[in-house]
Point group: C2
Chain length 372, copies 2
């Protein structure tokens, strides 16, 4: 683990090893203005897909960098929001590509958060049965999570991410300086996933996060680069072992069954995903303790870290135990009526636990719900 | 080459060799009522996607065969026609799957012609990022062409097959008896592709087609089984060598640049695709002769075979040479303003010819246009 002071603004690269679909993740401050992407654009044409919030901030700089390398660049700015991650918006991308006479070698570049990354990735997977794709994630969540692993897609009115493809980008460019404009709540939401990687995979990284959480919240670029690098290394390793999500990839759901229940119960959008995952990880820690996998001091340590990242540690008071329990079932990891959950064996080591005792789950929800 | 008389109603299997994506094509009369599909349906649930023409003819039999093996089967019947091969219809399939609470292991079965196969294949590729897929093609064209090779997709208002995926089925079941209800014109259109395989790859097969074209048009099941088997063997071999269409797969476009120009010029739907390809192959033969690749007797032989299959051998009189020439350019195989075409080196051997002389192309169009 490098010390942030020694790594300030040094760009770094993480390689995602997926055989012939391998690709690099470039991480560093100011990369949007550089030429890292250029070798990954096979023809003279690229289309940037962004939204009305991010495009005004970064699209011109990215365009200039690519035009300087002789590329023709077109830009489409979609409306901003998870509610637009749907087939209708996807169709707008196809319409734009047809109108601009994009061809099989035209590269699609996603410039934005996870919503833009997911929808653009699926557009790239399906336009003319697949065109080159590059991710330029501009939220911390997208830089550490959604841009790695190849899951792309859109929502169906009846379910999130129901339509999509596994489709790997040619490269990912995570510019830590682009996080300067990110709202504090969104930054904290991204930190939830960073903490998740430490908890589920790497105790040393968790120690490092504890020591650097303030620097991260102050957007120290060296600290951000290191946090993104470690997160991508861990996610890349898990994805390498399980590209199509048959086994170990499930560990990435630590805190998510509880978190999804909170998101759904509150109505999507009121709690950010990362906020719900923050509380969800505290709930998973509490349950792990109840099942005698970790001790009380460890639970406390986890809660302290999550709180210090600016995240909630308790489920919202307005959702009853009954309701939360019910919503957990619709998250589809049920077998024979008993839940399968990702819990902590110890710090830095998550494990799948099948058929978790229902009384213990209810006790956890009771104990971790905020008092109204 | 087996003689049809000796192979009447003997089912046969062609294996498509694509590594871990390999799959069998079962060919024979009455297979819809059999249990060949059952081992390829990994869970207890399947959804048949068909249309309002084919579902009343075959869906109940297929359902009964699967239910007899303990499967739960749901059916969606889409409207019939190429004009419904679009994103809106695709969304109807997703809606149906969500409504029926289909999951990641629910198998989609395409029951119909190429339109149903293409759209169902893309729905299977994209629903929950990919669910199991089976093809039960019921047109000759789908049995010999569209169900083999993994191309799936839908049309965009501005272009055919613009949105889709490469996605291989678990297996294909071609029931020759299902062709009994196929209109004669559709049967002949399928024969165009059968003849195409002989012309581009296998002179012996071409001889066999000449000897059996009447039996084929009378829907002799032995002859059909043999024609489908040989066609699938040839397409499977070409696809094996070039799954993602980078090279040799282009040979499958013999007659298609001319054919697409005819289809587009007449307005899609007036000439069937196979009819346009029939005339297109005669035009390719004429051009091959002009470029001194084949002799006049060979051109004549090809025309005679195509006519005997019930297909046109001439471009429609109402399209001018200028118009047809123009439309050929929009078929996107242009390089430096000169066309790249699939022509015949000799019978049973097609080749790609770059930058074909424009005068020769015009002369061919002039010479092969029907007189009004
Ligand atoms: N594909 C995957 O593996 C994966 C993993 C996790 C999450 N996701 C998906 O990611 C999405 C959530 O991603 P998200 O959290 O990035 O949300 P988001 O894309 O909605 O971005 C959050 C907000 O920040 C704005 N924004 C983005 N970058 C900014 C910047 N640099 N400065 C100022 N504002 C900026 C966005 O416009 C938006 O309003 C969800 O749809 C989720 O399903 C996908
Ligand atoms: N994926 C590929 O590689 C590939 C290759 C070639 C063509 N295609 C696509 O295939 C489509 C054309 O396929 P098609 O020629 O099968 O057309 P089609 O699917 O429209 O079928 C032709 C007609 O026959 C009807 N029909 C089907 N089976 C029948 C039966 N057994 N009895 C009576 N009627 C029946 C259909 O309802 C339809 O009206 C086009 O969309 C084309 O783009 C795809
Ligand atoms: Zn998450
Ligand atoms: Zn064809």
């Amino acid at each position: 683990m490098t010390d942030p002071a020694s790594s300030i603004s040094q760009p770094t690269t993480v390689n995602v090893d997926l055989g012939e679909r391998s690709y690099p993740i470039f991480i560093g401050a100011g990369l949007i203005d550089g030429d890292e992407l250029v070798p990954f654009i096979p023809s003279s044409r690229a289309v940037i897909v962004s939204n009305t919030t991010v495009a005004p901030l970064y699209a011109e700089r990215l365009t200039q960098a690519l035009e300087a390398a002789g590329k023709r660049v077109d830009l489409i700015a979609l409306p901003d929001g998870e509610q637009y991650k749907n087939l209708e918006t996807l169709e707008r991308i196809y319409d734009f590509l047809m109108e601009k006479q994009a061809d099989r070698k035209t590269t699609l570049i996603a410039l934005g958060g996870g919503v833009i990354g997911d929808i653009t990735g699926f557009a790239a997977a399906s336009f003319q049965r697949g065109v080159p794709f590059i991710q330029v994630p501009t939220t911390l969540l997208a830089q550490v999570d959604s841009s790695v692993g190849g899951k792309t897609g859109v929502n169906h009115p009846r379910g999130k991410n129901m339509i999509g493809a596994f489709y790997q980008p040619r490269c990912v460019l995570a510019d830590t300086a682009s996080l300067d404009t990110l709202p504090d709540r969104e930054l904290s939401a991204g930190l939830a996933e960073v903490i998740k990687y430490g908890l589920l995979w790497d105790e040393d990284f968790l120690d490092w996060i504890e020591a650097n959480v303030d620097a991260l919240r102050q957007r120290d670029r060296g600290a951000l680069t290191e946090a993104i690098r470690q997160s991508c290394l861990i996610k890349a390793e898990i994805v390498r072992q399980d590209e199509r999500e048959g086994g170990i990839r499930a560990l990435l759901n630590l805190g998510h069954t509880f978190g999804h229940a909170i998101e759904a119960g509150m109505g999507y959008g009121r709690w950010l995903h990362g906020e719900a995952v923050g509380a969800g990880m505290c709930m998973a820690a509490d349950l792990s303790h109840r099942l005698e996998l970790i001790d009380a001091a460890t639970v406390k340590r986890i809660e302290t870290l999550i709180a210090s990242a600016g995240l909630p540690t308790r489920a919202p008071a307005e959702l009853s135990t009954e309701r939360l329990r019910e919503l957990m079932d619709s998250d589809k990891k049920v077998e024979d009526g008993r839940l399968r959950l990702v819990l902590l064996g110890r710090l830095g080591q998550a494990r799948l636990v099948d058929r978790v005792d229902d009384e213990a789950i209810r006790a956890t929800i009771e104990a971790t719900r905020a008092t109204a």
